[in-house]
């Protein structure tokens, strides 16, 4: 099982959530997916926060 520093979820957890799809994926591919989703998640949270702030200001 690959587990890296500041890892949000393990590859095993990710495989569970991915379901059948993960059968064709290597651990490295799952790990890469986690890292990319992590990057997108952090960015998206910021985006949503900005959006919320704007909303609050105009409200």
């Amino acid at each position: 099982m690959l587990l890296r520093a500041n890892q949000v979820i393990t590859t095993e957890e990710a495989r569970e959530l991915l379901g059948d799809e993960s059968d064709h994926m290597t651990d490295e591919e799952v790990q890469k997916l986690i890292e990319d989703f992590d990057l997108i998640a952090q960015y998206t949270i910021k985006l949503v926060q900005k959006f919320k702030q704007k909303e609050n200001k105009t409200a």
């Binding site: 979820i9 379901g19 799809e21």
Partner: protein, 516 residues
């Protein structure tokens, strides 16, 4: 032979009557009574200088004068030994320089000379000067510590604040009428994670946060500003031994923003920066030329008018050989790519992974805020108990009515403050579901999301959808029906129902001729 006179006052001492003129007069009278000649230019005066520092300009000038005129200077006359130095080491050092140049030290008010008794006296007196200084330093430090523990700020006001006093006379700081808003904007902008510290230094300059000469602050100074908890309403300095106290001053940013900034500095939170690469998200490790399998490159040739026209192209294929286009404007390629994205969606499993990660990241980010909310609740409970106790004491006649009223008023003010903080903290918790849902909503439209995201995110989106990249034909776009099964699927569904998106799971876009 001539002699020199050295006089010094600190700013405080001028008020207390040990003025430079008084010292100078007594030194000159003393010299005259002993028959020592002191020319006017041999009088060295340090005004407003502490004896703790040895780099006092006139002291150094006097020592230099003695060195240059070695053999022609007989005495160095001071009013009192503590004019020289406030610690024994400095005293011995200065004394050694004088002795080396053949100059004897003479004090107007103290019995020192080169006899054994005089030398003993000198050592004892310089030791007392050091002791006196250490007592003063200790008192000052203790006073500062007390002020800091009370939430006051006895140091210079940091940028964004001005010095102020509370009604009780405690030295504190208050927001600067102009700079405070700039600091708030700067620190909040940094918390978006779109700046490195060096870029933040540029941002600070643009916002008008500059050094005393109107220039750019160094990135180290800017980093210290971002690290300073004073902007979040806390007190921490070298005198607090690492402890942090709640300040009496007004915070310029929320605690959550401050914590976010610390995570960004510590590298625990991603920094999303812009770069020149931004114009070409599909190059390098994503798009491959369908003819030669090599990754496409990008360039921006200038037109006749000097305007740049960004393009993707294949550096290995030539139109003259293969008879087909080998480059295309990046705007057109992006448009085609977005068309593909507009018809695809992540598979449910992938969305689940993404949702879990968003939730986890959100929890990390607001962990501190949630801890703060817990602390606030505890404080509120404590204050309610305290209030009830005051009322009980009043009922038992242990407090007068006015004493009770005063105590209750103080507690109620604190309760009001904490209640306000509680509302803010609760808002964070309430946002949890909303933020996760909204984040997933963003991801449900990869085309729009990809179009607006910075390069790093665009590439991440590309990889999660097409982990093996895509083949590209500059003539026909993203593959052809014959060449690419996944593309065929998209085209097929798109023609059946243009509004019906395809669910993809990291589609593997194999090259039709991978061996080439």
């Amino acid at each position: 032979m001539n002699s020199v006179v050295y006089v010094r006052v600190s700013t405080d001492e001028q008020v207390q009557g040990t003025s430079l003129d008084m010292q100078q007069k007594q030194c000159l009278d003393f010299a005259k009574s002993h028959g020592w000649n002191v020319p006017k230019e041999n009088i060295f005066r340090d005004e407003g200088e502490s004896a703790k520092a040895t780099n006092r300009p006139q002291l150094l000038a006097m020592l230099e004068y003695c060195r240059k005129n070695k053999g022609n200077v007989e005495k160095c006359i001071v009013w009192k030994l503590d004019r020289f130095a406030r610690n024994s080491d400095d005293h011995v050092m200065i004394r050694a320089i004088l002795r080396k140049n053949g100059v004897s030290l003479v004090s107007v008010t103290e019995p020192i000379d080169d006899s054994p008794t005089g030398k003993l006296m000198e050592t004892v007196l310089s030791g007392f000067a050091q002791f006196d200084n250490e007592v003063r330093t200790h008192r000052t430090t203790e006073g500062m510590k007390r002020r800091l523990e009370q939430g006051g700020w006895p140091h210079d006001a940091p940028i964004g604040y001005v010095k102020a006093r509370t009604r009780d006379g405690i030295t504190t700081i208050a927001p600067h009428p102009e700079m405070a808003a700039k600091l708030t904007l700067f620190l909040e902008t940094f918390s978006t994670g779109q700046y490195t510290v060096r870029q933040a230094a540029d941002l600070a300059y643009e916002l008008g946060i500059r050094n005393a000469k109107g220039g750019k602050r160094t990135w180290q100074t800017i980093e210290n500003t971002i690290k300073n908890p004073i902007y979040a309403g806390y007190i921490q300095s070298k005198y607090t031994n690492g402890n942090r106290y709640i300040g009496l001053h007004e915070a310029l940013i929320s605690e959550a923003t401050f914590n976010k900034n610390q995570r960004i500095l510590a590298g625990k939170q991603k920094v999303f920066t812009r770069s020149d690469e931004e114009d070409y998200p599909l190059r390098r490790d994503f798009l491959r030329c369908i003819h030669c399998s090599k990754y496409v490159t990008a360039s921006a040739p200038k037109g006749a008018s000097g305007i740049k026209y960004p393009r993707y192209g294949c550096a290995h294929c030539k139109t003259s050989i293969i008879g087909k286009k080998v480059s295309k404007s990046s705007a057109e390629v992006h448009k085609e790519f977005r068309e593909i994205l507009s018809r695809i969606r992540y598979k449910e499993g992938r969305l689940k992974v993404f949702k879990r990660i968003v939730l986890q990241r959100w929890c990390d980010e607001y962990d501190d805020a949630l801890k703060a909310a817990y602390q606030i609740n505890k404080e509120l409970e404590r204050l309610q108990v305290e209030r009830a106790q005051v009322n009980r004491k009043f009922v038992r006649d242990e407090l007068t009515y006015s004493e009770k009223q005063e105590a209750v008023k103080g507690i109620d003010t604190e309760i009001a403050d904490y209640t306000k903080k509680k509302v803010e903290a609760d808002e964070y918790a309430d946002q949890k579901e909303q933020i996760v849902d909204n984040a997933v909503l963003f991801m449900n439209d990869p085309s729009e999301f990809w179009n607006r995201a910075p390069l790093q995110i665009q590439k991440a989106v590309q990889r999660t959808l097409f982990p093996h990249g895509l083949a590209y034909d500059f003539e026909n776009g993203f593959g052809t029906i014959e060449l690419n099964e996944s593309y065929l699927l998209i085209q097929k569904l798109a023609s059946e129902d243009a509004n019906n998106p395809i669910v993809v799971a990291g589609a593997r876009f194999e090259l039709a001729t991978p061996g080439l």
